[in-house]
């Protein structure tokens, strides 16, 4: 989005023009949020840390989806399946190959990326909701394979295997408060890598494919390689998130979710946060995870009031709230929370002449 700046405010050097952090308060905000995030286990209780951990690895998965759907415009309904691949890859490398978690993690990401490439191949033939069908097929086929093939490794019909805790030297990441730092550091790395993507050749090619793929091809963007790159990045980040999730839940498999509904949830988080923005995944994931907590709270209260209905009250508020929030956002704010935030900032800057 074009930045609104007051008259007379110019960049005086190339470095200034390219800077990502432009104002003193950008540094202050970044410093404070990093400080708050890194000290969270010191002042937050276990529940808060676990929620923050969940938010952190979900953001990584949604960042991947943002590259594929937000920037490149390819609809994907299989992000959860790629997370499953990453989780299994990391778990199997740690259990059977005896690798350290910190080596298995990038390898799992690469493995998930490779699987993503296979299903990404269909994107060369089809687009729009035809592509959504291809990814839907992936979302059904991959979990099915995990339940019905290589049963001694993948857990077979149980749909779950146990995953050991990561260790680095003598440091044991057994507590969620220490594990949280792994998620946080990985999230910081992915964010740093993706932050500038819309200004690189790669990001611009992605956006041109989203806006009009035929025109992009005529301008010299190789659709074949760029679409596959988008699929690779998306599946790789999903694999990363899946590996982190598997180790923090100490188990991986279809018993732990990774279903179509989860893939839809990630798409919804992306849309509510804002497609094709850096801030979108953060805002969307935080919004939905907190909304889910709220619906659990409400469901729990109602279940306590009507114990005979507790079975249906406890589970049904999440889809209702999520579906309603998604529909309301699509109707009233299709550009998501990130756009709201931009409007707020612009209004503050133009005050008292806002609107």
């Amino acid at each position: 989005m074009a930045m609104l700046r007051p008259a007379g405010d110019f960049d005086r050097s190339y470095e200034q023009d390219m800077a990502l952090l432009r104002r003193p308060w950008h540094y202050w905000l970044l410093g404070f949020s990093l400080l708050a995030a890194f000290t969270l286990p010191l002042w937050g209780d276990a529940y808060l840390v676990a929620t923050a951990n969940q938010i952190a690895y979900t953001i990584i998965a949604v960042q991947g989806l943002n590259i594929l759907t937000g920037y490149t415009g390819q609809i994907s309904l299989s992000q959860a399946a790629f997370m499953l691949v990453g989780g299994y890859a990391s778990a199997l490398l740690v259990i059977h190959a005896g690798l350290s978690f910190f080596i298995a993690l990038p390898l799992a990401a690469l493995g998930a990326g490779a699987i993503g490439l296979i299903f990404g191949l269909t994107s060369l033939r089809v687009k729009g909701f035809y592509l959504a069908f291809a990814t839907l097929a992936a979302q059904f086929i991959i979990p099915w394979l995990s339940r019905h093939t290589f049963k001694e490794y993948l857990g077979g019909a149980n749909g779950a295997i146990e995953v050991p805790l990561p260790q680095l030297g003598t440091v044991n990441f057994g507590e969620v408060s220490s594990y949280f730092y792994i998620s946080l550091v990985v999230l910081l790395i992915t964010t740093a890598l993706l932050f500038n993507i819309s200004r690189t050749r790669l990001g611009r090619a992605f956006v041109s494919i989203r806006d009009n793929d035929l025109a992009a091809e005529l301008l010299g963007v190789n659709l074949f390689t760029y679409k596959l790159r988008a699929f690779f990045i998306a599946a790789m980040l999903a694999g990363l998130a899946g590996a982190i999730k598997a180790h923090s839940q100490r188990g991986v498999g279809t018993e732990f979710g990774y279903s179509l509904n989860e893939s839809i949830l990630y798409l919804g988080m992306l849309v509510i946060g804002g497609l094709g923005t850096n801030l979108g995944p953060f805002l969307g994931v935080a919004f939905i995870v907190l909304l889910e907590d709220l619906s659990d709270l409400l469901g729990g209260m109602l279940a306590a009031a009507f114990p005979e209905l507790s079975g249906q009250l406890l589970t049904s508020f999440r889809p209702i709230f999520f579906g309603a929030a998604l529909m309301l956002f699509l109707i009233y704010e299709p550009r998501g929370l990130a756009h709201r935030w931009q409007l707020l900032r612009a209004g503050w800057r133009l005050r008292p002449f806002a609107r």
Binding site: A134, F140, H148, I320
Partner: protein, 312 residues
């Protein structure tokens, strides 16, 4: 391949395919008139089945049910209700989205699906309802002698035959309605071009509403048919998802193609179960999706769909 099982599975698959084809018709209808691909159709199917079950007095103690209708009346009541639901969806969810990009409209139907899943769970409970009134008992079996088949005969449950008859009759009626009545003509004109349809005096918004209403009716009918075979549960929405491969196989724009695609998917699902390998037998739930991938790679427009020509 276990050849002695093939005749039995062939006929069973074909009979199941009727219901799949009927469900697929509802999606194609909405796509044809308003270019919306309805991912919530599976949930409409499930909701319709639950609604019918509720109208027959399901879930309550005998004699205390608020509404206790015989099956035929319950089906009619549920069809009316789902027509209303279809109209409401069109008015309040899809009409505000007119002119939005494809992804937004697709996500709108996905959001609807989530909403329906939660609403169904909260209204009717999450557990399997096995007390759906069946018109035939499971032991009513039609035996057709067929030398060479397993036990030298093909056994057909009356329930399955009845669902097939209902599904094909409903689908044919609907295709006749679409091709030969004045309302159907209006719907076809709207599918062709909104502005031209408007200029000859067709109310496009009313046609959209009507097609959603009819789609709701078709979904509920499909739900009732699925429920008589397998009971009512939240899984019905996933079962109904295999209508998607059927549509792609038949082509998005073709009603007859959707029906034929349904038969093909039913056949594929049943025939893999005739295999001797347990892995292949287990794959009947994903076989339609493998077929879908093959169709997408070889002929994305399906058997009877229109090939797209793109201009910048």
């Amino acid at each position: 391949m276990n050849w002695s099982l093939v005749p039995q599975q062939f006929v069973t698959g074909l009979l199941n395919g009727g219901t799949i084809g009927l469900i697929a018709l509802g999606i194609v209808l909405i796509y044809k008139s308003s270019e919306v691909f309805n991912f919530a159709h599976g949930h409409l199917v499930m909701f319709g089945a639950f609604l019918t079950w509720w109208f027959t007095g399901g879930g309550a103690e005998p004699g205390t049910a608020l509404i206790d209708l015989p099956l035929w009346a319950a089906v009619i009541a549920a069809l009316m209700a789902s027509m209303g639901i279809g109209l409401l969806i069109e008015r309040f969810a899809l009409r505000p989205m007119t002119g939005q990009p494809l992804l937004a409209i697709m996500l709108m139907t996905l959001g609807l699906a989530q909403l329906f899943e939660g609403m169904t769970a909260i209204l009717f409970g999450v557990e399997l309802k096995s007390d759906f009134p069946a018109p035939f008992s499971p032991s009513d079996v039609l035996v057709i002698p067929f030398p060479g088949a397993f036990g030298d005969a093909i056994r057909l449950k009356y329930t399955l035959v009845a669902t097939f008859v209902v599904a094909t009759v409903a689908a044919s009626l609907f295709i006749w309605f679409f091709n030969s009545t004045k309302t159907g003509l209006a719907m076809r004109a709207t599918a062709e071009d909104h502005e031209v349809a408007r200029s000859v005096g067709i109310k496009v918004s009313r046609v959209f509403g009507l097609s959603w209403g009819i789609a709701g009716v078709i979904a509920t009918l499909g739900g009732v048919l699925l429920a008589t075979v397998s009971g009512v549960s939240l899984n019905l929405s996933t079962v109904a998802l295999i209508a998607f491969p059927a549509i792609l196989l038949g082509g998005l724009e073709s009603l007859g193609g959707a029906l034929l695609g349904g038969f093909a998917i039913g056949l594929v699902q049943a025939l893999v179960q005739a295999s001797r390998l347990i892995e292949v037998r287990n794959s009947s739930e994903i076989a339609p999706y493998l077929l879908l991938l093959v169709v997408l790679l070889i002929r994305p427009e399906g058997l009877f769909g229109q090939k797209r020509i793109e201009r910048i």
